[in-house]
Assembly symmetry: C2
Homo-oligomer: 367 residues x 2
Amino acid sequence: MAFGATRIARQMLGRAIAYSEYGNPKQVLRCIQYPVQHCSPEELTVRFLASPINPSDINQIEGVYPSRPSMTTDLTPNTPSAVAGNEGVVEVIDVGSSLRDRWEPGQWAVMSTTNLGTWRTHLTTKPENLIRVDQYAFHNVQEAASLTVNPCTAFMLLHSAVKLQPGDWFMQTGANSVVGMNILQLARHFGYNSINIIRARPDAESLKERLRQLGATYVITDEELMQRSEMKKLVPKWTENNPPKLGIDCVSGRTATEMSKYLANSATISTYGGMSRQPLGIPVSLLIFKDLRFHGFWLTKWKDEQPSKFRDLVIQMQEYYRRDVLHSPDVDLVDVDANAEPADFLKPFTDSIGAHGKKVMLFHYDN
Amino acid sequence: MAFGATRIARQMLGRAIAYSEYGNPKQVLRCIQYPVQHCSPEELTVRFLASPINPSDINQIEGVYPSRPSMTTDLTPNTPSAVAGNEGVVEVIDVGSSLRDRWEPGQWAVMSTTNLGTWRTHLTTKPENLIRVDQYAFHNVQEAASLTVNPCTAFMLLHSAVKLQPGDWFMQTGANSVVGMNILQLARHFGYNSINIIRARPDAESLKERLRQLGATYVITDEELMQRSEMKKLVPKWTENNPPKLGIDCVSGRTATEMSKYLANSATISTYGGMSRQPLGIPVSLLIFKDLRFHGFWLTKWKDEQPSKFRDLVIQMQEYYRRDVLHSPDVDLVDVDANAEPADFLKPFTDSIGAHGKKVMLFHYDN
């Protein structure tokens, strides 16, 4: 306890990436400083070890995401603001007096809810906003930091709409997305077979090989998918006439429509993204005569409705990391000096937004 | 019994509208004549009183409908053929000796399965292909003839995807289709409110009034639906912020997409047709953030899977006619002389195909 108490007694200044109006993140984000609060008997004070930048974080700042944090004057007395970010892993640094039988400094935790604002150094909060994790379950800190969004989404997409049996087939678009790669690792664990669609690109063959290593059974490009006469022969051959019962889609547009044609009667297509920025075009005959069912999956909504099941799911994903079922996704680690001047604290965030590839911000503390 | 036996002893010739190849109905349909068979101890011989022409009957003849009758040499020894038509009401004219405790001449019945070929005068068949109906339950013969497709589809569309409560709202496109008008009559019975979309037309106001008389709460044209700023005010006002939980669609295309925007979170859209001949375009955000679910309903598949429930449903619809919940849809009755020469028997069918409005063929017998 002295450990945490000592730190906070120094009247430490936390830093957070916040915004007071919606818009282009490079324009509306700023770094604010705030005194790290002493925690009340029922609270914990934590510091962030790593926080990913997810596409939905950007959409929130732009004001185009349906779930958003409230803007408050808690940290910015003059102008209400919200701290950006929704995911991250923290280390407990101070424990409220009534919580000391259950928590101790050094414990790692992840967020149990969205909109807590994770692009920051310090947070004083109630323990119900956190889920304890075991730092030794993970291969590295970025796995823990990315525990609550992508692997959970991957698991739910594979398991919530259709009950697959080992040997069953599914198809997915955007198979090289982080969720797509988590899906492949989980599918290998459960013995599901998959036909995976990636965008045609110069390095398609090496990407195919990488996805097969993660667990993909077959990988094709969207251009190959469009070769209908060829695909109509290949899919039944690959699946031995056991057509995919589940489609998982994060691309939408023509790719998703085309994928639907290879699914089994009464299959479900679960959509979790629309990278093509095109609507999903569904031929009516697929709905009526093939009985395909289309719905979307949004983890934020599900976890708001099922908070206890979400906690169980996070712990289950942690166990998959521990048992080597899941491995770190391909991410770029970006160093952030927790003691930097505000402009220097802000810069790695704004530099990372819009850059290619998933970024995880790693906070470095002086002590 | 003598009644039926006498008739068939005369070596009667039945007439049927049949086809041996798929194509334009006006070109491939022909009238065939066949001896009306004596029924075996386990069979019934029936004559058709009335048979509707449904759009799916046409699609079957064109070869573009997924469910089709087998082509056999039963009636046409030289060239395999199928008799067209799937719906109709019959009168029993002869009863096999082992069935005489349960059936008698004069009993009315409808088809329990599709693909029996109902555009014909006489059929000898097993009783399991028939569902007895009570001729006194109906206001007229066309109600009985149209019992097994449109009212059953209407009931299932209203009840299978979402459990509405009295006072709840739904929306439907193509509200003036026969199914749409059956839906309105049933909705009034169950106390459901509806917003109904029709195609813009010169006589829209009188059609709106007609649909309100059948049970519609509000009726708008597709052009009115597209006035988004107006509709975004009207729908919450009409529904008192109890947005529709169910969308029923037989139009697809832009109209269905637009309708989806006014539905409640987690609403279901049930598609049973695509009159616009456009695919259903679904914005991904409606799937993910609004959790809308899209599926199709096809009565033929449902009844094949649930034959016993289908029989119950048909009898329930009959009771709705008896209790004045349902009334005859707007149909044109077309007289067919059951004893006409083949060319004259064929003509009313080919004249009716492609003509505006739903047609029910009424068979007239000499005796």
